[in-house]
């Protein structure tokens, strides 16, 4: 072993010696949980007292206001957009993943092409889509027809699906790729055609990946802020836009907090239902 230690080597060596035997896995978990608790759970819990006016005779005034049909509509729209985006994304992701898993040998390149967009800031990607979809943009030139879908529901869903696609492709590809090729051959030899094999063997075996992908996309999409802000009009506002507006434009912290609390509780409720239908622990074990 070299006895010559310089600079950073000496420091890490000294630190390592000091920590040796004093730090356990429990400490390391503690650091992680502490960080999440202090910077994630506490701030969110803090929204609860912020949403209540303790000095008033009507402390839940903000919650009453949030039940106004105007805001309820936005809330419902957020979940509907979340579901629509999930459906569109899963459909595209399944086709891409199927191709990656069974029809190409250039998996590395293809996966890279799918992941690279994640390196680019969301705002830039949405902006790109905005210019692409605009009436004078390349989409109309390419298709040769005038489709004006900008600032409408299809534009927002298209944008969201586009941006969240990589999050769906990876888990689905993983679960498809884990299927032994002989399993599919066996199905064919047993008398099942391509479609029957897809329906009875490939699809059920890829379900864990599909469920995981759906969950990730749904959570991300429902809470979208930039997508509807850039690609939608006033009628495409989602809950995140509403919260931001209440907080940043109207400086109504109490109302913004109330909306955030409602949204978070609804989302958690949704996840609980989801968990009852699909055993999420099993799903995440399988991917």
């Amino acid at each position: 072993m070299s006895t010559k230690q310089t600079g950073i080597d000496r420091i890490t060596h000294t630190v390592g010696e000091r920590l040796e035997g004093r730090i356990s896995n429990r400490h390391l978990v503690g650091i992680g949980l502490g960080f999440v608790g202090f910077f994630f759970i506490l701030p969110i819990l803090y929204l609860i007292p912020e949403s209540i006016n303790f000095n008033s005779s009507t402390p839940f005034e903000s919650y009453r206001r949030a039940t106004n049909s105007l805001y309820v509509e936005v809330l419902i729209r957020s979940f509907i957009y979340g579901i629509l985006t999930t459906i569109v994304t899963l459909l595209m992701a399944y086709i891409i993943s199927y191709f990656l898993a069974f029809s190409t040998k250039r998996v590395q390149i293809a996966i890279t092409l799918i992941i690279v967009p994640l390196w680019i800031a969301y705002i830039i990607r949405y902006f790109g889509i905005l210019l692409f979809l605009s009436p004078t943009g390349p989409m109309n030139t390419i298709l040769g027809v005038d489709i004006d879908i900008l600032f409408s529901t299809p534009a927002v869903i298209l944008g969201l699906a586009n941006v969240y696609l990589p999050f769906a492709v990876l888990p689905i590809y993983n679960s498809l790729n884990a299927i032994h090729p002989e399993t599919l051959s066996a199905s064919r030899v047993l008398g099942a055609g391509k479609w029957n094999t897809l329906r009875n063997v490939t699809f059920p075996l890829s379900l864990p990946g599909l469920v995981a992908a759906g969950l990730i996309v749904f959570i991300l999409a429902t809470g979208s802020f930039l997508g509807p802000a850039v690609l939608g009009g006033p009628n495409q506002s989602m809950i995140a836009n509403l919260i931001a507006q209440a907080f940043l434009e109207n400086f109504n912290i109490q109302f913004a907090s109330a909306l955030a609390v409602i949204y978070t509780i609804l989302l958690l409720g949704f996840l609980l239902i989801f968990n009852a239908v699909f055993d999420l622990q099993e799903v995440f074990e399988n991917i």
Partner: protein, 347 residues
Amino acid sequence: MLEITNFTKYYGDLCAVNDLSFQIEEGNFVTLLGPSGCGKSTTLHSIAGLVEPTEGRIHLRGKDVTELPPEKRNIGMAFQSTALFPHMSVRENIAYGLKMHGYSSDERTTRVEESLELVDMPDHGDHKPDELSGGQQQRVSLARALAYEPDILLLDEPLTGLDRVLREDMRGWLNSIQRELGVTTLYVTHDQEDALSMSDKVIVLNNGEAQQIAPPEEIYESPSNEFVAEFVGKSTKFQGEVTQEGNRAVVHNDDKTITLPKEDSPQGEHVSLYVRPEDIEIKTKEANVENSLSGTVLEIANLGNRAEVTVELTDETNALAHTARFPNIEVGDTVALQFPAEKVIVL
């Protein structure tokens, strides 16, 4: 009956199988034997419809199936990986093939139970494949392949993953089931013991070409070329030119003289001679008889029921002989190897 004529398969420029023709009589058990990459799996997959032949025809029970997709061929197949559907129970796995072959729900129930009986697993119907041992999975895989009475059963190294004892059990078991049902079977393996112990006929493949197609005893006792002689079974090899000495053909190899069987005397030709280890006797004293070679014991491998003895001959080549169990000789002993001229394989 299965008939393969002039089957050829290229992967790009690479020739996997070249002009292979053979047939399997109804109810026979035939083995495709060869080292990995010899083209045996390609052949099997082509029969199943999973690989498209570059050239050649495949006839199954008189019908040309060359162009048919796998699901239209009525073939039963057991894979090396078992290829059981992990999300289905054993019962559902077996019912799958029946359903795809159009059996009614009632027929399926009856046949699934019969198939489970057939493979001695009547109580395992509700298990998932991953709850079963390797041997049990292979049996379910076989039950699944046989349930709908296929025209031919294809077995792709189904015993490869199993340990030795289980493997030997499974051989006998597989054979008895095959005979009981009388199903035409093509078995693919690189294991010569599988091939010799189970088959009516063995096809030895190498580099995509058939080397010999014959019953097991013929493959072992009269191999048609050096590859077959060296791939199937162990032996000691000598080489040399055939000359006539007295009334017998002999080969001189260094200081050794090997007398050939009476019928094999291709005068003046350069030949390879093979002697099987069980045909060689080890004697402690050299006797003045034909085919007696002296040497030194190099290694003794006691295998329980017999011993494999490696002997270094005087010209520093090695010879292999079998003896009775735990022989009364030791490494370093000087011994004489004797074998009858009739047992020498001349190629």
